[in-house]
């Protein structure tokens, strides 16, 4: 009897899957037939054709007429991931400091951190990005750029920072940025567009992370603090060894949402002309006219990365749980 009901359950699920799969297949089939009847070439074969549009400022450079569209998408993906990773690290660090600051014994620090949270989270993130873009465009042009001790050159073409590397004579040394005509040479470089997005998104998300930290630490029983005090542990040690590890368990689920938010907010790149995945996809769409395929790729990319971030955070959560219970 039991076996029978289990079989019936499996059958029901199988049927549901078959119907769903059939629907998706039919939709795909009809779409491509209709596109064909309108003289629109469909399919993903265009990915292997050489791109008409070059991609500059990316970890992998795409040369027009040489590299494929697939490589251009990859360049955009790397740019998106670079921005997201940098913003996640910065937002987490700032958020942790501000969140702990709100729990500080010092009234001034508490007030300042509370002020930060209220100001930052109540302004739309797009305005943050525009503000920082405006700030960096307000800097002087490369030719009149201000530099501090030859180590940093700040201009409206971006920030240049001295960085160790191999110099002209072939030996390792600190390469200092030098203004040369229109451009600045040497050192590491951060484009104004990247700067605006990185700073804007990080400061904005940090406010939310600060609240998560405050809530997580606040959720611990008062006895935990009192016990550390009774043991004579310094406050910093108590925080590091007793309070934060336990708070982390509470903080992880909402933190995952913030990280996903950062990833999705990275698409604001189009507002300032940073070449993220979305911006490059839009360009490739104009280039090829393959609207349905390009949008499918975009949706697949954002869904896949979001699911990966969720899964990774889930693993961390799970580990923490076991460690906590032990």
């Amino acid at each position: 009897m039991r076996l029978l009901s289990r079989w019936a359950g499996a059958l029901r699920q199988g049927l549901a899957f078959a119907v769903l799969g059939g629907l998706v297949f039919a939709m795909f089939h009809v779409t491509s037939a209709n596109l064909q009847s309108r003289g629109i070439h469909s399919g993903f074969a265009f990915l292997w054709e050489p791109s008409r549009t070059p991609v500059a400022d990316a970890p992998i450079v795409v040369e027009a007429g040489v590299d494929s569209y697939a490589k251009a998408f990859a360049a955009g993906a790397l740019n998106s991931l670079k921005l997201t990773a940098a913003a996640i690290v910065a937002a987490t660090l700032i958020g942790l400091v501000i969140g702990l600051g709100r729990l500080s014994g010092n009234a001034l620090a508490r007030a300042l951190c509370a002020g930060y949270v209220e100001v930052m989270r109540n302004v739309p993130v797009l305005l943050h990005v525009f503000l920082w873009y405006g700030v960096i465009l307000g800097l002087p042009a490369a030719a009149q750029a201000s530099s501090w001790g030859d180590l940093v050159v700040a201009s409206n073409r971006g920030l240049y920072l001295a960085w160790p590397g191999v110099d002209a004579s072939g030996s390792w040394s600190l390469i200092r940025p030098v203004v040369d005509g229109f451009e600045v040479k040497g050192g590491v470089y951060m484009a104004p567009e990247f700067f605006a997005l990185f700073v804007g998104i990080s400061l904005y998300t940090a406010a939310f992370i600060a609240e998560i930290v405050r809530a997580a630490v606040g959720s611990l029983p008062r006895g935990q603090w009192e016990a550390t005090a009774a043991l004579g542990l310094p406050r910093a040690t108590a925080l590091r060894r007793v309070v934060l590890p336990q708070a982390l368990r509470v903080a992880l689920p909402p933190l995952t949402s913030e990280y996903l938010g950062i990833f999705k907010n990275s698409t604001l790149a189009v507002a300032v002309g940073y070449q993220d995945f979305m911006a490059i996809s839009t360009t490739m769409l104009t280039d090829t006219g393959q609207a349905v395929e390009v949008m499918a790729i975009v949706m697949a990319f954002y869904a896949a990365v979001s699911l990966l971030v969720s899964a990774a955070m889930h693993v961390v959560e799970h580990r923490n749980m076991r460690w906590g219970l032990r």
């Binding site: 039919a26 939709m27 089939h29 009809v30 779409t31 037939a33 209709n34 596109l35 064909q36 009847s37 309108r38 003289g39 629109i40 070439h41 008409r52 549009t53 070059p54 500059a56 400022d57 040369e63 027009a64 465009l137 307000g138 042009a141 409206n156 073409r157 040369d180 005509g181 229109f182 451009e183 104004p192 567009e193 698409t267 189009v270 507002a271 300032v272 002309g273 070449q275 979305m278 911006a279 839009t282 360009t283 769409l285 104009t286 280039d287 090829t288 006219g289 609207a291 349905v292 949008m295």
Partner: protein, 350 residues
């Protein structure tokens, strides 16, 4: 914002593509020889208004004036089609399109025709399901630099940051600077307004853009216009064309010959002001164009006076050009009639 809009439009396209005409039918209807009716024309007539895709933020092409009326050569090209169909140039609904949406909007039937700074290229016709009816403006790429930079030619631009629009701007810049072997840093923007702001904020040393768009940009600067110089070098060909959906030949004819009639009118010296004096003309060409003789209009499913209505209400090609560009101080150049050394040439109206 534009972005979400673009996305919504693309989703509509997907939806229409998968669920519209034909439903589950897999084989497209066999091609019929010389269709006498146009489904698009029937739909436009039933709707009572022409849906015309324009950029909507491009001075001299399509930009609302202080009264909110769309002005420019693209806007007037839309008006001409409406005048040919309805005998009323005001029956146009302008649909503003971002560059990435233009072809999609035509493919999906969201607009009946698009005059949206679309460059006529081969693959756009062979692969994208759109067809170009006519070129309403011949453009090229140009370079705008601040006068203070002292740059007089593009070969002095080594290492310069170049503001441009993403897509065609990027590919043409790569071709041009590759050819003259000048290193440059591309700063691509998805929208013209962002690019112009960044250029004025000195984010770049050069703006690489359509010559006509640069001229209109300079015209909006007022007293500051003298601070910027358009270099004499130009690059490439940018025939900006009116696009319609493939598969409706009769509709294609209407859009193509509306433009053709405007050029023919200029060649014949017919303007919106003097057209009445041609009513008694003995010239057989004039009589055919104005619908006094022959059946040019009815052959496309339109009134006999279709071309006369276009010229009366919108003017001939030259009048349309003057209205859009004379204030910018740009020479007419390739947009003159062929007889004056330009590229506009009317096919015989017979």
């Amino acid at each position: 914002m534009r972005h979400t809009l673009a996305l919504a439009r693309l989703l509509t396209l997907t939806a229409t593509a998968c669920c519209s005409v034909g439903g589950f039918s897999q084989t497209p209807a066999p091609p019929t020889s010389a269709p006498t009716s146009s489904p698009t024309l029937a739909a436009v007539k039933a709707r009572g208004v022409l849906n015309c895709g324009v950029i909507g933020s491009s001075a001299n092409f399509s930009l609302p004036d202080s009264q909110g009326v769309m002005r420019g050569i693209d806007a007037d090209s839309c008006r001409a089609v409406a005048a040919a169909i309805f005998g009323d140039a005001t029956k146009v609904k302008y649909v503003s399109l971002a560059p990435a949406q233009r072809l999609v909007a035509v493919q999906s039937g969201e607009v009946d025709v698009a005059y949206a700074n679309i460059t006529w290229t081969m693959t756009r016709e062979t692969k994208s399901g759109v067809q170009f009816a006519n070129v309403n403006f011949y453009d090229a790429w140009g370079f705008l630099v601040p006068k203070a930079s002292g740059v007089s030619a593009t070969n002095k631009l080594n290492g310069a940051s170049v503001c441009m629009l993403a897509g065609p701007g990027e590919s043409n810049a790569a071709e041009y600077f590759g050819k003259i072997k000048v290193r440059y840093k591309a700063v691509p923007f998805s929208e013209g307004e962002q690019m112009r702001k960044a250029f004025l904020a000195k984010r770049c040393d050069v703006m690489f853009h359509d010559v006509a768009a640069i001229a209109s940009f300079k015209a909006t600067l007022g007293a500051q216009a003298g601070d910027y110089v358009l270099l004499t070098e130009t690059y490439g060909r940018e025939p900006l064309a009116g696009a319609v959906r493939k598969g409706d030949e009769r509709w294609f004819d209407i859009v193509r010959y509306t433009y053709n009639a405007m050029v023919a009118a200029e060649e014949l010296g017919i303007t919106s002001k003097n057209i009445k004096t041609f009513a008694s003309s003995a010239d057989p060409v004039v009589k055919r164009v104005l619908g006094i003789d022959g059946d040019l209009g009815p052959s496309m499913g339109l009134d006999k006076e279709w071309a006369a209505n276009v010229v009366t209400q919108v003017g001939n090609y030259g009048e349309m050009w003057e209205r859009a560009f004379s204030a910018s101080g740009m020479p007419r150049g390739p947009n003159q009639l062929a007889a004056q050394g330009g590229l506009h040439y009317a096919f015989p109206m017979q």
